[in-house]
Symmetry: none
Subunit: 152 residues, 2 copies
């Protein structure tokens, strides 16, 4: 199992610690770096989470932009420049930095949302809204999954 699936709501304690769901940890077990990489999402008030090994692929994908384009520069800055690498403690928890908590408006709880090869961290009630929005978009815009390469 290597995919991040399902949604888990865990508690953020007074120290900013939160358990990464056990199944997410299992999906990260084969990594050399035992932990996650987080950065603030561009499109939403949430946090993007990746395995450390996936960051290399992200970099490759960014190279498909023109090397000196404004877009490439912006993305690289906001992703690599702002990402944080958070190791698990002995009990599978990470400590969320203050700016992350603030950006995603995380309170006592946060939602870990599986997105396949990555995941997101949300304020639970904000995610509820996001969930219906996503479902609505898929339906109304008729978004489908392309069979092979070449999708939008």
């Amino acid at each position: 199992m290597t995919l991040f699936l399902s949604t888990f709501i865990n508690k953020v304690d007074r120290k900013g610690r939160v358990s990464v769901p056990a199944s997410f940890r299992a999906a990260l077990a084969d990594q050399t770096f035992q932990g996650v990489v987080l950065f603030r999402s561009h499109g939403h008030a949430c946090i993007e989470g990746f395995p450390q090994s996936f960051m290399a692929e992200l970099s490759d994908r960014l190279d498909n932009f023109d090397l000196f384009s404004a877009d490439q520069d912006d993305l690289a800055t906001s992703i690599f420049g702002e990402s944080v690498q958070l190791p698990f403690d002995g009990d599978g928890r990470i400590i969320l930095p203050a700016n992350i908590i603030e950006y995603a408006d995380l309170g006592e709880q946060c939602a870990f949302v599986g997105m396949g090869r990555k995941f997101q961290i949300w304020n639970p009630s904000a995610f509820e809204a996001r969930k219906s929005e996503a479902r609505e978009n898929v339906k109304s815009r008729g978004v489908t999954i392309p069979k092979t390469a070449g999708g939008a």
Copy 2:
């Protein structure tokens, strides 16, 4: 045999456990992940069930989208965020999460309905109603099965 066929009604015990029909398990025997992936159906008050490999395929296809595009995000949220991955215990049972039981209104029993490459889980009496509805629709609208992909 790799298809889910026929309908089986099994008991949901006090712990929320239910046996996956043996023939369904046989259809999943070649998988690396020994278990099923479930999510709430959009069209009906039932649960959709898939082999985990199906999710892996979806993930591969999603990789054709730009990583942070709105479409990718919407699809990943509504597909992966809302699914759950349930492993078999030693006796071929799974534990149904509370929100799944609630959504499909499952009581003491549930019906596993083979649908070919996927299956559905229903409240048995709700499924009886659904069955006659489906048969009626097929008859009145003269629905048929197209020869290959991309039919009518």
